[in-house]
């Protein structure tokens, strides 16, 4: 560093005096952090990879129903290293959701939603949920059989809303059935609206968590793993995270490419043929299985036949949808329901039991759904 020509140093100083970037990076590096700051940082890195690979895909992708499938196939088979970009985007999406889920579980176990962190949790959970919305809206873009029917299934529950149901479905699809207008709407959401919202929320998250940590330090309520980081040490750690994350995504691309290309993803959308069998991605298997399991369980009950058959039908259809649609709101309400001051998992048996039961149910449903 000392051998740096004077001109470079002068330019650097001039830049610093005008932009103050070094001061900013120092301030960020010096923010006190918890032991698992790397998990959130990895989510940001994963999002950044989606932005980069997504922009590269947009160079060749055409968002029109008659050309989307062909352009997505061309990226895979004709564009040099197009397979790498497309697979990295698809596997990166899975990885990003896995990180979001892990982050949610960890925050729940450690009660990182209790004051002063209520909004940190809400912001983090909205980001995770946006990840799921991005997964859905991205899924439609290649306009394959899977795209078409996954979108049909995902938009149909809106029709069950009383009075406004049909209007909501028409608004979401841009028509009565999934078609070209649906593709345009998903494209705008996936490529413009969701990334912009995510960037804003990541920035807000950084601000919220820095504020919460300062309050915790002042009160001495929470151990801080490290008070002030050396910017270079922090830069090194972040660089290592980037390398490790890229290595994981590359490993997924090389060793399990089929994860990103399930059955029926290689056939263009056909509104006259629903593939059989059809499975959602791993992160929605639980929801799919819930819709098979609950009606079957209810039908097995003795009182579901006689006079209460109509009621049993209602419950069988609407209960799974209510659980799936209500889950995000339950998640967002957590900080305002569980408000006790205790954060140690060993002294929160009820909260931990709820978390374990939820995870166990999701695991069982996912496993059943995978073997359906």
């Amino acid at each position: 560093m000392s051998a740096r020509p004077e001109v470079v140093a002068e330019v650097a100083n001039w830049l610093e005096s005008r932009a103050g970037l070094r001061t900013l990076t120092r301030a960020i590096a010096a923010t006190p952090s918890g032991r698992t700051w790397w998990l959130g940082a990895t989510a940001l890195i994963a999002f950044a990879l989606q932005v980069v690979t997504g922009m590269l895909l947009l160079v060749y992708y055409v968002p029109a129903p008659d050309r989307a499938f062909a352009s997505a196939q061309a990226i895979l088979w004709e564009v040099p290293f197009g397979w790498l970009v497309r697979l990295a985007h698809a596997q990166g999406a899975s990885a990003l959701l896995a990180i979001g889920i892990a982050h949610t579980v960890l925050a729940a176990v450690r009660a990182d939603y209790k004051q002063p962190r209520e909004l940190v949790w809400v912001c983090g959970r909205i980001l995770t949920l946006l990840g799921f919305v991005a997964a859905l809206t991205g899924y439609i873009l290649p306009w394959s059989q899977l795209s078409y029917w996954a979108t049909t299934i995902a938009t149909s529950p809106l029709a069950k809303f009383p009075l406004v149901g049909t209007t909501l479905v028409t608004l979401a699809r841009g028509g009565e059935t999934v078609g070209g207008p649906t593709l345009s709407r998903a494209f705008v959401a996936h490529v413009v609206a969701l990334p912009l919202a995510a960037i804003a929320l990541f920035a807000l998250y950084g601000r919220l968590i820095a504020r919460a940590r300062r309050i915790e330090m002042r009160r001495g309520t929470r151990a801080i793993a490290r008070l002030a980081g050396d910017p270079r040490a922090r830069a090194l750690e972040v660089s290592m995270l980037v390398v490790v994350y890229l290595a994981v995504v590359l490993a997924l691309v090389i060793y399990v490419p089929s994860l990103a290309f399930p059955l029926h993803a290689d056939r263009p959308a056909d509104p006259l043929d629903t593939p059989n069998p059809i499975h959602p991605e791993w992160y929605f298997l639980w929801a799919s299985e819930l819709q098979r399991l609950i009606p079957d369980l209810i039908a097995a009950l003795p009182w579901s036949h006689g006079r209460l058959a109509a009621a049993a039908g209602w419950i069988g259809e609407l209960l799974p949808l209510a659980i799936i649609g209500g889950a995000p709101f339950v998640l967002l309400a957590v900080p305002f329901v569980d408000r006790g001051p205790e954060r140690d998992p060993r002294r929160r048996p009820v909260a931990i039991a709820v978390i374990v039961l939820t995870l166990a149910s999701l695991a069982v449903l996912t496993s059943l759904g995978a073997h359906e």
């Binding site: 529950p157 028509g175 009565e176 059935t177 629903t274 069998p277 059809i278 819709q291 799974p320």
Partner: protein, 152 residues
Amino acid sequence: MSDFIVHSEGALAQPVGRRRVLAWLLAPAAAALAAATGWPIARYLFPAGVAAAAAAVEIPAREVALGESKRFLLGGRPAIVVRTAQGLRAYWGACTHLGCLVSWRRGRSDFFCPCHGGRFDVDGHVVGGPAREPLAPLVIEEIGDTIRVRTA
């Protein structure tokens, strides 16, 4: 903040009052503007001309043999016709649960939805799975060697 301080001191009360009137005027103006722009945006996003028009399709009778089914588009929406021992039946093809297409299973004489396992009998009634509403029927006329299916 400084407005409130000035106001509490009693001096220079007039500019504060003027500002307050402006603030009062601004609120309804902003609400009116929001409504004036919100409505066009909502209309812009809501697709035009989605009202389902009456439609009819003619299918050669030989394409639907006994026990066989055929899928076709009726006014842009998928539909299905099946010839059973009890005669011809035609329904909108989408499962009433979440909209996947049902297929006729000859061996079991039922309509099956692959997405969540919904099942309907030959008359469209739910016999299993998560669906609650029956399949919506279409009108059929068989004239000579042509099957004519139209919306009810």
